[in-house]
Assembly symmetry: C2
Homo-oligomer: 214 residues x 2
């Protein structure tokens, strides 16, 4: 049995839960509160010295970290259903859409960055929300444009099967909701989110339905 060390509200954890569910893989759910800094304690640091969720513990005890590295691993070891298309250019498109969220939006807006803004720049809740919104819009504008204009976009980010990019988009949209980001200017993104939210694999990965949700 796989063990998922994660946190309900962590966007990177949501991505990975969606991928595990899409692959039909069962896992033992272990929760670590980021608010209580439980990932900074020795028990968790022995699993991942970076102190970041998620960590996927394999049956043999190997600890995998970094959500996208873990999802690529799952896709290699459990190829059905595929989370990346077969053609290299299409794979590059799906990965690029994924990294737009994973490398341009999420790293700027996670809890440790917002905490650092508060402690070092005296940023209050309003300042943190403005920061969060700024970096979402900075990437969601071109993301919407790329998705809206491409004939490769279908029910989901790439065609009619959910992919790595959908795992990233779905998780980010939950973060956006939390920070009340106005996504009305992103009809294609919003349509894809609605389509994903009708799939059990995604709904079961959503933050509010996790055992540690508050």
């Amino acid at each position: 049995m796989l063990t998922l060390h994660n946190y309900f509200r962590s966007s990177t954890s949501t991505r990975l839960r969606a991928a595990l569910n899409l692959k039909g893989l069962d896992y033992d759910y272990r929760a670590y509160s980021l608010l209580k800094k439980e990932t900074q304690k020795p028990d968790f640091l022995s699993k991942n010295p970076a102190g970041l969720v998620p960590v996927l513990e394999l049956e043999d005890g190997v600890m995998l970290s970094q959500s996208l590295a873990i999802i690529e691993y799952l896709d290699e070891v459990h190829p059905e259903p595929p989370l990346l298309p077969a053609d290299p250019k299409s794979r590059a498109r799906v990965r690029a859409l994924s990294y737009m969220i994973a490398c341009e939006v999420h790293p700027l807006n996670n809890l440790r960055v917002l905490n650092y803004l508060a402690s070092e720049f005296d940023s209050d809740d309003q300042g943190k929300a403005a920061w969060f919104n700024h970096w979402v819009h900075e990437t969601f504008q071109p993301l919407e444009s790329l998705l809206a204009k491409s004939p490769d976009t279908g029910t989901y980010c790439h065609g009619d099967s959910p992919s790595l990019a959908d795992c990233c988009l779905y998780a980010q949209m939950w973060n956006n909701k939390r920070f009340k980001v106005d996504c009305s200017g992103y009809p294609t993104v919003s349509r894809i989110f609605s389509n994903l939210d009708q799939l059990e694999a995604f709904r079961k990965a959503a933050p509010p339905v996790q055992p540690d949700a508050v």
Copy 2:
């Protein structure tokens, strides 16, 4: 012939140049100054609406964006020499090391974020340098620990052949130099950088030797 739309000092561009050089692929070099905001002009935005370098233009005119998506593409289409190991767990390790830099360090420290700190938080050069240093150390401490403790670490990040992780590490170290980050506490990282810097593929990718270097 491939066309590389990039900027000498961009860390994501350095990563991709190293990968292209390792694969022995020639490319036409096109420079876009980030300081002059040349990636925000219509000519560049038609290539990548996100306004971010690098973009790799393929022979058929297809534009690939996001450095790691492009490098994975190159590794799939030009498999020799491989930039990822064969075994899925090893691939997950190399990708996780890569994403530690690409998702935890670089997104926080690129020019647009430093500019935003200056404009919105009145951050001066000293404040920007402190921010830069903070996020490097936050990840380089666990990165050093992971590299130092693992028997998989060799001449380079994974064994004795350069990988995706080395492309990311080499580029980040050039950024660290620029912001005078003290890396003396990271002997394994520093050793790997020195080893990489002896390889022509990496030396030719370094910011100071590019045509647009100032």
